[in-house]
């Protein structure tokens, strides 16, 4: 696809202190236990108290991250709002299922039903910012954020001046248990800072809400350029192997041009072999910071953009880093969600 795409603003609510101040100077948050939860900000600076009372957690996280992102970019009313979410508002879905049972389908409060709708966050953002343009929500596991990004890039290419793109997912104790039943999480309880010392089946879970303001033009405040995006659904090892050099070649790059790969490596031995395609690349894993979830790619992109903007890797977050790269021009992100949805994203310094 032709056309350019720059990150003009961004905001992230994650298990790390990424929301306020200088995120690159924050110490790593260490959690004992296999379920990382977001360090939630004070929502009252973003959402009116009467709205706040009705909203459940991921709605608050999503709306607040999107508003902070718009503030950061200086764009009040974006030309489109496109998001991705694997699970939408889990809390509301769980609550409505339970209330149907507990009240035997009678006299139900509709609020959890309304808020369980996957596009509820998009609707809230549109309502709050009076954004009457294009509005879309992708709900496809490890492709949710990436298709939101592709849709955004298409919109910029088609002439939309700016797009708010983002992703949000939450984890609940109930859902953590449910996904544990099909082997998503490690059996042994670990701390996130020790994730890679525990190669075994399963990983640790996480959550986050991350938004980006995207434009086709570069300015002095641009964080980075999004140069390329590719998705591969359940690729064979052969297909995956050729896909990476081909992807780089399509963007005029070779392996040696990649200064850093942020990899979705998560110490899950069931699906670790895919990351072997990165052998020889300078790389850092990031899921000890975020845990794993459907739209973690948005956090990886936020991280890559921060690193490119600051021209430095925050070493307190990456104790495995031996030395800062000589240059930081091109960052590749390679992630997959439990071996099914594989994604490459390419970011350039501006």
């Amino acid at each position: 696809m032709k056309g350019k795409c720059y990150i003009q603003g961004m905001a992230a609510i994650t298990p790390q202190h990424t929301f306020e101040g200088d995120p690159m100077a924050q110490p790593m948050v260490v959690t004992h236990g296999n379920m990382l939860s977001c360090a939630e900000p004070d929502y009252r600076s973003f959402i009116a108290p009467n709205s706040l009372r009705r909203m459940t957690r991921v709605l608050k996280m999503g709306l607040t991250a999107s508003l902070k992102c718009l503030q950061d970019s200086g764009i009040a009313v974006p030309g489109a709002i496109v998001t991705g979410t694997g699970k939408g508002s889990l809390q509301d879905t769980e609550r409505f299922i339970k209330e149907i049972r507990d009240y035997q389908e009678k006299a139900l409060n509709p609020t959890p039903f309304i808020q369980s709708t996957y596009n509820a966050v998009n609707g809230l953002i549109a309502l709050q910012q009076k954004c009457t343009q294009y509005n879309n929500t992708f709900v496809h596991r490890g492709f949710s954020f990436e298709h939101a990004l592709l849709d955004s890039m298409l919109l910029l290419h088609e002439g939309t001046a700016d797009v708010l793109a983002g992703a949000f997912d939450e984890i609940t104790t109930e859902h953590f248990f449910i996904k544990g039943r099909i082997g998503h999480w490690k059996k042994e309880t670990i701390s996130n800072d020790k994730l890679y010392d525990h190669p075994s089946p399963g990983t640790i879970s996480g959550e986050g809400a991350v938004f980006f303001a995207l434009t086709p033009v570069v300015t002095t405040q641009s964080y980075a350029q999004i140069g390329g995006l590719q998705m591969l659904y359940k690729p064979s090892p052969e297909k995956l192997n050729i896909a990476l050099p081909k992807f780089l070649q399509q963007h005029g790059l070779q392996a040696a041009d990649i200064d850093l790969v942020l990899t979705g490596e998560n110490a899950d031995t069931n699906h670790a072999h895919y990351y072997e395609i990165l052998n020889g690349y300078p790389q850092l894993p990031f899921k000890h910071l975020s845990g794993d979830y459907e739209t973690v790619g948005a956090f990886a992109m936020w991280l890559a953009a921060q690193i490119l903007k600051h021209q430095q890797i925050p070493s307190q977050w990456f104790p495995m880093l031996q030395q800062q790269p000589a240059k930081l021009r091109n960052i590749l992100i390679y992630n997959h969600f439990f071996g099914e949805q594989h994604t490459f994203m390419l970011l350039h310094a501006v």
Binding site: A120, V139, H147, I178
Partner: protein, 404 residues
């Protein structure tokens, strides 16, 4: 210059038919699919009418050729049956002969099956076959099972924007083709009835205990339905290469947001107006070019006022024939946009306008009334198909006769 996008295959299953031909027959016979549920376990079994597909899930498994396979939800099976028909209709025997995308739409994924086992799934004391359904909790499961069964190797994703989901899936598919990322993509949606959505809309007091009456003064809400519908979209170059039959063109589309209220439209129908106007203009049409509008027409109090006002604003004194087909199919949520896009294609290819069933009295807020008769041999060249949803999401598609 971006390529034009053509519709080359249709496949569907609804309460009024197991395939497109069966749907057309029921539309012509004016046979509604509304009745009481046989599949859902709900206290509203004999209270709230629904438009249910007339097969058990086991029968659907056999119809889809999947007998003996585990973990296929009703949502997936409805989708798979519609998908198989759409590809066959388009003359595609092997989807891998050309990189083919699949853009699906769903509002609650496999909830139809998971809601029956959810408390077992969440209970550490219990174990059993229900664990096979854990992955069906989300919206991607149905898409991937359909994709894996058929063998799609292009872009795959799922859209969820409530009741406009599959209209947005069609739009996204068309844009992928126009951007040159793919030359063929199958788009639409699938939806099975669930206790979750039935209780959801009922808690909003949006469900009529009678068969729904779109655009009637005495309307009192919607009836839910289930079904699936897929349309094969292909680029002009691919259609020429393989000499495929063009059923209609998708020359215009729009997605707008009202930014008015989480679940209700603005009384003046601002979002509906903007969506229809933008779609029409994108396709190079003026109001006089439109012969038929397949309206969203859920028969809720607020939708029909808003949509009717939008029609009056856009078309003035010359509102084209319009009807809601929801009294036939019920409101099939994520599948509605796909189902109604297919009806729009049928309106063009058979030169026919479908009646808006159950209409009696004009709404006091409007001067227009829907078409209540089956109109044959009507010169239909351009159709607008509307899908509006929660979160203020409005989508409109312009489907046109192919005239070179």
């Amino acid at each position: 210059m971006a390529e034009r996008v053509f519709i080359t295959g249709l496949g569907m299953i609804t309460a009024i038919g197991d395939d497109v031909a069966d749907n057309l027959r029921s539309l012509r016979a004016q046979e509604s699919g509304l009745g009481f549920t046989r599949q859902l376990d709900t206290i509203y079994k004999e209270v709230l009418p629904v438009a249910e597909v007339k097969h058990t899930t086991a029968e659907l498994l056999a119809m889809a050729g999947m007998t003996g396979r585990e973990g296929f939800t009703r949502t997936t099976l409805l989708g798979l049956i519609a998908m198989q028909e759409a590809l066959k209709h388009a003359g595609v025997s092997d989807v891998q002969d050309e990189v083919t995308g699949f853009i699906n739409a769903s509002t609650v994924g496999g909830m139809c099956d998971t809601e029956n086992v959810y408390f077992d799934i969440a209970d550490p004391e219990k174990t059993g076959d229900f664990l096979n359904y854990i992955d069906t909790l989300d919206c991607a499961d149905c898409t991937q099972r359909i994709a894996d069964t058929i063998g799609f190797d292009g872009p795959i994703t799922t859209i969820s924007t409530a009741c406009s989901s599959s209209a947005n899936a069609l739009m996204y598919g068309a844009r992928l083709i126009k951007a040159g990322l793919v030359r063929r993509v199958v788009c639409g949606g699938t939806e099975a009835l669930t206790r979750f959505t039935l209780n959801g809309f009922n808690s909003l007091k949006n469900i009529d205990k009678r068969p729904c009456r779109p655009f009637d003064q005495d309307r009192n809400g919607l009836n839910l339905g289930e079904g699936a519908a897929y349309l094969v979209l292909e680029s002009e170059s691919l259609v020429k290469e393989r000499n495929a039959t063009i059923l209609a063109t998708l020359d215009g589309y729009a997605n707008t947001n009202e930014a008015f209220h989480p679940t209700a439209p603005s009384p003046e129908g601002d979002g509906a107006y903007a969506a229809m106007k933008t779609a029409m203009e994108m396709g190079g049409c003026i109001p006089a070019d439109i012969q038929y509008v397949n309206v969203h027409g859920t028969a809720t109090l607020s939708n029909d006022v808003a949509e009717g006002m939008a029609l009056q604003r856009l078309f003035g004194e010359n509102v084209p024939k319009f009807s809601s087909t929801k009294p036939f199919t019920g409101h099939t949520l994520a599948a509605a946009g796909g189902i109604e896009a297919i009806y729009s294609v049928l309106a063009i290819s058979h030169q026919i306008i479908f009646p808006n069933l159950h209409f009696k009295d004009k709404m006091e807020e409007l001067y227009i009334t829907p078409e209540t008769q089956l109109v044959e041999q009507y010169p239909v060249r351009h159709v607008l198909s509307n899908s509006f949803g929660f979160g203020g999401n409005n989508a409109s598609l312009l489907i046109s006769k192919y005239e070179g």
